[in-house]
């Protein structure tokens, strides 16, 4: 770690000598070991040794950033020169600000040392488990890896953070097949800190494989109706709350003033049963963020609590530009509070609707309107799943949806990066041929 600290210290001193009023830099090294499976067969074992230096300087309120992956003096000198040159070509902005005075901190988390043989065993076991339990599944690609990183973040404003972390991750892309019939592809992911459990028992992988196997025989939806749609946890995070964060609460939409929620802080924006937080220190989150890109120590915060908007997801820069508070962390460690309705009960309560695992559509507009294809889903009629979906589109409005909540499931997805239940919303337009 001393080497990283010395590099960072020298960079900051040189930047200050060249006129920087404020600067920060990250120096780190990482290693990755990764097994790949393609088309149901092992294809690759790779080992990566990476380096990174990120430098940002502020000169008279003007910001410039440079990143390189070399630690030699020549490359660092050139990077400093380029960073100063970039800052000098910018326009001044008094909104740039870094955290200050936190001193030296040490963060360590996860599995630092890889168990490569055991990782290979678990990968092979996962492939075998899929073949045995789900013979209709073809694994298009599976990437199983261990990543560890160590490094230093240092700023001229009195922060020095030393960190070490490691984790295992499995990412699968697969579809089910029978003769010439096949399903849409689907992806399952999990991140863990140890290899104690078979991967198939982690997150919702087993359940998701079952669901995909049951989607081989599909039926197209005829006509158009307005109904209830259950979003699976992964789809809820990516399609619903991922877009809500981006469209209503992120830097971009607050900075350009297009957020529908720009005046809604402290007001009700969702059903009171909905609580969404960002908690990188939650024990279910693997190697959660410990400090933000602007050097602030990450703290957990509520985004929406009991339906009321508690915070935007702003950097300090955009907070300063817009007169708002910055978010207490910059991670996407999303925790959506679960409900008390079993998924089975949720399905039983729906007269006509869908349960969908993936949404293929364009990014919703800043007004929240979305439309696209419902993928990896099933039709629900009279409280029962009747068939898998084909060529079915859904449309609605994200902001309206949050106030049309039907139920939140007891079951949750815990995949190491998010925690989320199933959620059912009413008033969604479903259309077919």
């Amino acid at each position: 770690m001393e080497r990283y600290k010395n590099i960072a210290k020298q960079i900051l001193e040189k930047l200050q000598a060249r006129g920087a009023d404020m600067a920060h830099c990250s120096v780190r090294e990482s290693e990755m070991r990764e097994f790949n499976v393609d088309g149901n067969e092992f294809s690759l074992f790779r080992t990566l040794f990476n380096r990174y230096i990120g430098i940002t300087a502020f000169i008279g309120g003007k910001k410039g950033s440079v990143s390189i992956n070399r630690f030699d003096d020549e490359a660092i000198e050139a990077a400093i020169e380029n960073c100063v040159s970039a800052a000098n070509s910018a326009t001044p902005d008094t909104a740039w600000e870094l955290a200050s005075g936190n001193g030296e901190r040490y963060f360590k988390s996860g599995a630092i040392v890889p168990e490569t043989e055991k990782l290979f065993f678990r990968t092979k076991e996962l492939l075998n488990d899929i073949h045995t339990r789900h013979p209709k599944i073809i694994v298009e690609q599976m990437i199983v890896k261990h990543i560890c990183a160590k490094g230093v973040y240092m700023s001229t404003t009195g922060n020095c953070y030393i960190s070490e972390s490691g984790k295992y991750a499995a990412e699968l892309m697969y579809s089910a097949h029978e003769g010439e019939k096949s399903t849409s592809f689907y992806g399952s992911d999990v991140t863990v800190t140890d290899l104690d459990k078979p991967f198939i028992d982690c997150a919702l992988i087993e359940r998701e494989l079952c669901d995909i196997e049951n989607q081989i025989d599909t039926a197209a939806t005829n006509g158009k109706f307005t109904g209830t749609v259950i979003f699976t946890p992964a789809c809820l995070v990516s399609t619903v709350f991922g877009n809500i964060c981006g469209n209503f609460a992120s830097d971009g939409v607050l900075l350009d003033g297009t957020s529908l929620w720009k005046d809604k802080l402290g007001q009700k924006v969702a059903d009171e049963r909905i609580t969404v937080s960002f908690k990188p220190s939650d024990e279910r989150i693997v190697n959660g963020e410990r400090y933000t890109g602007e050097g602030y120590i990450s703290e957990d915060y509520d985004f929406i609590k009991n339906g009321v908007l508690q915070s935007f997801m702003l950097s300090k820069y955009v907070a300063n530009k817009t007169g708002n508070e910055r978010a207490k962390n910059s991670s996407f460690a999303m925790i959506i509070e679960s409900g008390d309705t079993p998924l089975e009960e949720m399905i039983k309560s729906i007269d006509k609707g869908l349960i969908i695992g993936r949404f293929s559509g364009g990014s919703p507009g800043t007004n929240g309107e979305f439309s696209g294809v419902a993928k990896n889903g099933f039709m629900i009629e009279n409280g029962k799943i009747t068939h898998a979906l084909a060529e079915t589109m859904i449309s609605g409005n994200l902001a309206d949806m949050l106030n049309n909540l039907v139920a939140i499931s007891k079951e949750t997805l815990v995949d190491g990066t998010v925690v989320a239940p199933y959620m059912a919303f009413d008033g969604i337009t479903v259309s077919g041929k």
Binding site: T47, K63, S67, A86, S175, G361, S371
Partner: protein, 461 residues
């Protein structure tokens, strides 16, 4: 520019295995102005070396963030150890890859590097122009970008090569509101292959096209929702290029075929109207250089065109050397890696539907009640061929004439069904190359096509 430190290391390649040793320098430069605020101003230089070794059906790969003779030796050792690990624990017993044409290709271009001030000043000039001329916009974003990949490749069998792919763009996003307060956005990318200085000498050269973009945005602001349902449409060249890439191209990547894509059982079958042919071009198309030419891929294959659909029949896939052996096809140079630390994957290069003989104006005139769909905001497709594209600009066609502009809508369908409905193909191909294709790694790709008359599902409100 990379010095050749890897050729002397060829003597370290182990016998009875296919080995690739690649040095790479990837650069990116960018400046972003959001409604007058310079929010991005950054440069990145990433270099290193990697080796990949193939033994009996599996690969070992290793990379280091260091471009030096020592690093070359270290990654060769580590990749060989990884290949040995896989051979011992997996051993597919597939034997060696078939030999291919060997040769050497030298770098044939400079790799200029503009100062950061050029990106910032250019983006600011364009933003100032928009801000001063068009006061009724809700917001605007101007981004100046350049990225380049310089590679030095040595292989145990195939082509050694020193190549570079450099491209630069100005991206302009304009946002306005309809009378009811709904947002409308249009986007255009200017630029293409080459360095920033060469592609962007004077901001004023872009102003006429920015004016035209604004005019279209104002038309869209007054636009209507499309009627939902199956409609006769003219897909403009940008849309047919998206179709070629997303809905057909991915399904015929041989690794996805092995993963169960719809193209597996469709080989040598009719998958489109006989008016439709589709090729993934290497470096030259219709007598001109393609938007992003590839001459040698990262497995040492000299790049040639990959013919995919001919007169409606699926005739081939895009392969790497291993899948080409599996399917008994010729590798055409589709194995490409993004960063030095990435292994080559099967990727598209310049994928296009071939032009026909029809005139666009005749095609529009032939539609009694339908739509002319020009630009796509995004596109997604499944390995089943089911696709969904966002339509960001289009017009209604009534009695053969263009009518009102459309608000954002989507089209969807199944590629090999929808392509069978094509009954007119225009004589002009439109290319685009400003985006990245995502498949484990990002990759710059070109895509193009003529206008197509066809039937497709269009979403309404």
């Amino acid at each position: 520019m990379l010095k050749d430190i890897i050729t002397p290391k060829k003597i370290l390649f182990v016998p009875n295995a296919h080995t690739e040793l690649r040095g790479q320098l990837s650069r990116s430069r960018g400046a972003t102005v959001v409604s007058g605020n310079l929010t991005g101003n950054s440069r990145q230089d990433i270099s290193g070396i990697s080796a990949r070794v193939y033994k009996n059906g599996t690969y070992g790969f290793a990379s280091m963030a260091e471009y030096s003779p020592d690093a070359a030796e270290a990654v060769l050792r580590a990749a060989t150890e990884n290949a040995d690990f896989m051979e011992k624990n997996v051993n597919k017993g597939k034997g060696p890859l078939p030999n291919i044409n060997c040769g050497c290709r030298a770098l044939d271009c400079d790799i200029p590097d503009a100062e950061q001030k050029r990106y910032v000043d250019f983006a600011r000039s364009v933003d100032d122009y928009i801000a001063s001329k068009y006061k009724n916009l809700a917001s605007r974003t101007v981004a100046a970008r350049e990225d380049s990949m310089e590679k030095l490749l040595c292989v145990s069998n195939g082509f050694d090569a020193h190549t570079c792919l450099q491209r630069s763009y100005i991206y302009v996003f304009l946002n306005a509101e309809t009378q009811s307060g709904a947002p409308v956005e249009l986007f255009k990318a200017f630029g293409g292959e080459g360095g920033f200085e060469a592609n962007f000498k004077d901001p004023e050269a872009l102003y006429p096209e920015i004016d035209a973009l604004y005019e279209r945005l104002m038309q869209k602001r007054e636009g209507i929702y499309a009627d939902a349902g199956e409609k006769t449409v003219i897909l403009g060249g940008m849309m047919s290029g998206m179709l070629a890439h997303e809905a057909v191209g991915h399904t015929v990547e041989a690794d996805l075929v092995l993963g169960g894509s719809v193209a597996g059982p469709s080989l040598n079958k009719i998958v489109a109207s006989e008016m439709v042919s589709l090729t993934d071009f290497a470096h030259t198309a219709f007598g001109e250089k393609t938007p992003l030419p590839v001459y040698v891929d990262d497995e040492g294959v000299e790049a040639i065109d990959a013919r995919i659909i001919e007169n409606g029949v699926l005739v081939g896939y895009m392969n790497n050397r291993e899948t080409a052996q599996h399917f008994g096809m010729t590798p055409c140079g589709n194995a490409r890696a993004w960063a030095f630390s990435d292994e080559p994957l099967i990727r598209m290069r310049n994928t296009a539907i071939l032009p026909g003989k029809d005139k666009l104006e005749d095609m529009i005139a032939s539609v009694e009640d339908g739509y002319y769909l020009i630009d796509s905001s995004n596109g997604q497709a499944d390995t089943t061929g089911e696709f969904m594209f966002g339509v960001s600009m289009g017009y209604e066609i009534k009695n053969g004439k263009l009518g009102r502009a459309l608000l954002d809508t989507t089209i969807s369908g199944v590629a090999f069904n929808m392509l069978k409905t094509v009954d007119m193909v225009s004589d002009e191909v439109v290319w685009s190359s400003s985006g990245f294709c995502g498949k484990k790694q990002p990759m710059p790709v070109g895509m193009g096509g003529p206008a197509l008359r066809c039937k497709v599902m269009i979403g309404g409100r």
